[in-house]
Amino acid sequence: MSPTEVRNKNLIAGCIAKDPKSQKSLFDIFAPTMYAICYRYAKNPDQAKDLLQDGFIKAFTKLSEFKFEGSFEGWLKRIFINHSLEYIRKEMRKPDMVKVEEVHNLASDSFQFHNLDSKKIMAQIQKLPTGYRTVINLFIIEGYSHKEIANLLGISENTSKTQLHKGRQMLQKMITKDYH
């Protein structure tokens, strides 16, 4: 067991015993990473904050279900992603998702940047329509397949592909614009 795992194990035990100090430490360690996840799934910083809060409350109540198989951070991330998706599924019912045609034939300019400022990209991702943003997050960053995404969001695989394609184009455009 690595020192990190030992530390996590102790913290988890403390949190299950409802020790406030352990709860605070766990939050301090993982909140920045989880906030970044929430941030790129949310459509604005306020929603990201809400997702972070509710996600942590959910995580604390589910902590006893963690079986110490695999990384704790990965488990925690999945909780936050799933929690964000729950939020988004409600949002996807709104017509926001098809507000797409405007970016339709955006030329995919050659993309020449080798370093991306993650903070800037975060802000730009939030500006994407919810459907694009979610599919980009799930496909590009989390590495889900289109089939999985289709299941998770209740859409068809083709929709997932289209959303990804259009979302990617839009994001590229935004970044390019930003850099010029």
């Binding site: 406030p20 939050f27 904050k49 994001l171």
Partner: protein
């Protein structure tokens, strides 16, 4: 750079820059989470303590009912209610028996045994019956504290019918053959005859006062209410009779139905509490 390469390159960069990125957490988030967790903990403890209280009360209930049942099983005598003492045509059923204790008064300190108490006159109407010389009472000791009353004497019937109309008497559960030893035993669970349910304060000497028949009592309380539930009489003294006037206003009460409740505790520890109605003519 063709399109596919471009895309792959973009995706890789995006993933690299975002996958493990961290962001400074806005202030106030932990405070919200902490207070939410705290309140959850408080709710959890409250539920736990409520469960504990419930469990304790259920256990208490079971224990007390078990004790109650045990006492009930151990009690040697039971009070039963004979169907009728006085039949409609005014004659006694020879089979009916009433407690001897009903008719005798024991002094407070003396042991209540048959010989001593039988000599001592009592005030209550029932005792007067037995002491009435013309009544020729031929009381027969049947068993533990039981007297068989004569069947054919008009005066007894009349008086008793007036005084002892509807009635609970103690009856010994297991009737034993009459022996001196049995009759000499003290009686602890005495139930006195119910008071008359008809009340005629007209000065003819019959049922002019309403009172509860009780002897040897430690505490006593009688309350009488009219039909509207207003109290017309209350006494802690058994010798204070109700004469049909409102003891608060001094008015003469109207004929009608009155409710009375009474309570007494005997020196033996026996308690009785009852309520019934009486008719004022």
């Amino acid at each position: 750079m063709d399109n596919t390469q471009n895309t792959t390159h973009f995706d890789a960069m995006l993933k690299q820059s975002l996958e493990n990125s961290q962001m400074p957490v806005p202030t106030g988030v932990w405070e919200t989470i902490g207070s939410s967790l705290g309140s959850q903990a408080i709710v959890a403890t409250k539920i736990a303590s409520l469960k504990l209280i419930l469990l304790k009360s259920v256990a208490g209930l079971i224990i007390s009912s078990a004790i109650g049942f045990g006492i009930y099983q151990l009690l040697p005598e039971k009070v039963i209610v004979p169907k009728t003492i006085v039949s409609k045509n005014g004659s006694f059923s020879p089979k009916e028996t009433i407690s001897l204790d009903t008719f005798f008064e024991a002094s407070n300190d003396q042991p209540k045994n048959f010989n001593s108490i039988s000599k001592k006159p009592a005030k209550d109407t029932a005792l007067r019956l037995i002491q009435n010389k013309t009544a020729a009472v031929q009381s027969t000791v049947l068993g533990q504290g039981l007297v068989n009353l004569p069947t054919n004497h008009q005066e007894i019937i009349k008086l008793t019918a007036e005084t002892l109309p509807t009635e609970k008497y103690s009856e010994v559960k297991n009737k034993k053959p009459a022996t001196q030893e049995n009759t000499a035993q003290p009686y602890n669970n005495v139930v006195f005859p119910e008071p008359a349910n008809v009340f005629t304060p007209d000065g003819d000497g019959i049922n002019d006062n309403f009172y509860i028949v009780v002897e040897n009592e430690k505490s006593f309380n009688l309350q009488i209410f009219d039909e509207q539930g207003k109290k017309v009489f209350e006494s802690n003294d058994k010798n204070k009779f109700w004469d049909g006037t409102n003891s608060l206003t001094g008015e003469i009460c109207k004929p009608g139905v009155y409710i009375y409740t009474y309570y007494y505790e005997l020196n033996s520890g026996f308690k009785k509490k009852d309520r019934s109605r009486l008719t004022l003519y």
